[in-house]
């Protein structure tokens, strides 16, 4: 199966689901070609609203559509859409509107465009809002399942997709289960890596590499960051020697923080390594260069985990 960007899988899924869910509508803020909401727009032009470069208004409009019974997917780059935090906070989350906020171009892997286009704080922002679910699929199958689920989900949700292609990590016939961690690679006597989105395939690569160094490392795919699958986090953490998190996002407020909170509250005294952007901005470069520089590719995760486990 060729690698596929989750934004592509998103656009295709939305267009496919439009027939089955007549209330499904989409909005974009002049980035429909990039977020791939265009795929839906071409098939359902009457149910697509081009809002221009005005994300605040797009979010509010999506809230109104939802409050009147529609299922709107409001799309833009992760950084821009979640940057309109107050609109999401009041018009969407507080109103408990069935809005799906879709942030594409997640993380540093966006590449050449540089930090201003890289969503690196979006999960942190969305996770802090009551009512808001946060989903980040790891491959095309999971994206399709997540989008289908979001047509049925009650309440607001944030979906984070990637610009870069991702190798498939789930088996054919995979069924997305909201709020459930997927144990992709069991084991983990030495460590378990909780990874999300584009980092899941890299975590798998890292685990394979660490195995060559004699380390037993498991991988858990956290596609639903909120609500977090707390029982699974605790169970896997208990069974592992140490805990690693991996995300293409700031370690402050993202998956790393979510896992740390759960471990600390449960009193599980396991060491924790949070892999991600360490309180720093992104920059320009190719996707590969940036993932290498910030140690977010398979090699980078393996190196950091190896150092951590050896210490």
């Amino acid at each position: 199966m060729p690698a596929k960007a989750t934004r592509d899988a998103f656009g295709e899924a939305l267009a496919k689901l439009g027939d089955r869910y007549p209330e499904l509508v989409a909005l974009d803020a002049d980035l429909s070609k990039s977020t791939r909401s265009e795929t839906f727009a071409k098939k359902f032009p009457q149910r697509f609203f081009e809002m221009g470069i005005a994300e605040m208004n797009m979010i509010g409009t999506a809230a109104g559509l939802a409050l009147a019974g529609k299922i709107p997917f409001a799309c833009s780059f992760a950084c821009f859409v979640t940057g309109r935090f107050d609109q999401i906070r009041i018009s969407v989350a507080y109103s408990n509107a069935n809005v799906r906020i879709v942030g594409s171009h997640a993380g540093i892997a966006v590449g050449d465009d540089g930090y201003s286009q890289q969503g690196l704080e979006d999960v942190s922002l969305m996770r802090s809002l009551p009512n808001m679910a946060v989903i980040q699929p790891a491959d095309d199958l999971e994206t399709e399942g997540a989008v289908e689920y979001l047509c049925r989900h009650r309440g607001p949700a944030y979906l984070r997709t990637t610009r870069q292609k991702l190798e498939r990590v789930n088996p054919e016939g995979y069924r997305f289960e909201f709020g459930k961690i997927v144990e992709l690679l069991p084991g983990g006597a030495d460590a378990v890596i909780f990874a999300t989105g584009g980092e899941v395939m890299f975590a798998m690569q890292a685990a394979a590499q660490l195995a060559k160094d004699g380390l037993s490392v498991g991988v858990a795919n956290v596609h639903t960051i909120k609500p977090l699958d707390v029982p699974a986090v605790l169970r896997l953490a208990e069974a592992a020697g140490a805990v690693v998190t991996a995300e293409d996002h700031q370690v402050i407020g993202g998956l790393g923080s979510a896992v740390a909170e759960v471990l600390a509250e449960a009193g599980i005294g396991k060491r924790l390594l949070r892999i991600g952007l360490k309180d720093t901005f992104g920059e320009s470069g190719t996707t590969e260069e940036l993932l290498a520089r910030y140690k977010l590719d398979g090699q980078g995760i393996a190196e950091q985990a190896f150092e951590f486990l050896r210490a």
Binding site: G52, A54, N57, T61, A68, Q87, S91, S95
Partner: protein
């Protein structure tokens, strides 16, 4: 409809009826704010006549069925004026009038700013200014998708028009030809830090909305006949949304509150409340205001 009352009654009688209702609602606003000990009388009193026109004459709604899909929507974007909305809703029968006393109290459905999930009949959470017009636009789009079964009303404040999001929505609503969206702009010319022209002038305000391709109507905001006429002209307009710029008086109906910025966000004490109620009662009996 339970409260969409006959519009065929003689204009004079209709105006007198609405005046009488608005007078009672003003009493409720003052009492409610006094009980609460905080809140916003100025903008509630400037808005109440418009709210009265909608809830007791022109809006198609049914307080017994607050989730009726075909009801007209009213989004109070200037959420701090919610005492005006609560007073109208209680009078219309959405909830017991007794509950007005719970405004701003712990556990009350009558939150300090409107909360959709708390109280049936509140259409959206507002209170962070600038957001309600976009929400109303989304509802109007949904109505259009479903064959145009309901109309959407929104009210914004004048100071609120300093928010950039208002102008994003101003740009988009004509694009979508939302003739099922009517905006009331409560132009009471005062905001917390002072008179609107001093804080951040909006003029030429009507020209701005015209430039954004809205149908613009200016009306005296406490003249029921003019408000009803403006409303009906808005509803008859096709192909674009209407903004009714209602020239209002902050604190309207209570002499010592009128035009006084200090009454933007301050509740009356016992003595002030008695004075206000006495004035309003005289007004309601046709001897003043």
């Amino acid at each position: 409809m339970a409260t969409a009352l006959s519009t065929s009654s003689a204009p004079g009688a209709e105006v007198a009826r609405l005046q009488e209702i608005a007078g009672r609602l003003r009493l409720d606003i003052i009492e409610m704010l006094h009980q609460a000990g905080s809140g916003h009388p100025g903008g509630s009193l400037s808005a109440i006549d418009i709210v009265t026109c909608l809830f007791f004459s022109r809006m198609r709604h049914d307080p017994r069925r607050p989730t009726w899909p075909e009801r007209d929507r009213f989004v109070l974007s200037k959420g701090h004026a919610v005492p005006a909305l609560y007073a109208a809703m209680a009078q219309a029968g959405y909830f017991p009038r007794e509950e007005l006393k719970t405004l701003r109290r712990l556990g009350s459905r009558l939150q300090g700013h409107p909360v959709a999930s708390a109280l049936p009949g509140i259409e959206a959470c507002t209170g962070s200014l600038g957001q309600g017009l976009s929400v109303a636009q989304g509802m109007a789009l949904a109505s259009k998708l479903d064959g145009g079964k309901f109309h959407v009303y929104c009210m914004v404040g004048d100071g609120e028009c300093q928010e950039g999001q208002i102008w994003e929505a101003a740009m988009s609503a004509p694009k979508f030809q939302l003739d099922n969206l009517t905006l009331f702009l409560d132009y009471n010319k005062g905001q917390i830090d002072g008179p609107v022209p001093q804080v951040m002038d909006l003029e030429p305000l009507a020209d701005k909305w015209r430039a954004f391709r809205w149908n613009v109507i200016e009306a005296p905001g406490h003249d029921f006949q003019a408000l009803l006429a403006a409303h009906d002209e808005a509803r008859a307009t096709r192909g674009r949304p209407t903004v009714i710029i209602a020239h209002t008086v902050k604190g309207k109906g209570v002499s010592f509150m009128e035009h006084q910025i200090a009454w933007h966000g301050m509740a009356p004490n016992k003595e002030q409340t008695q004075k206000a109620l006495a004035e309003l009662t005289r007004g309601a009996n046709g001897k003043g205001a």
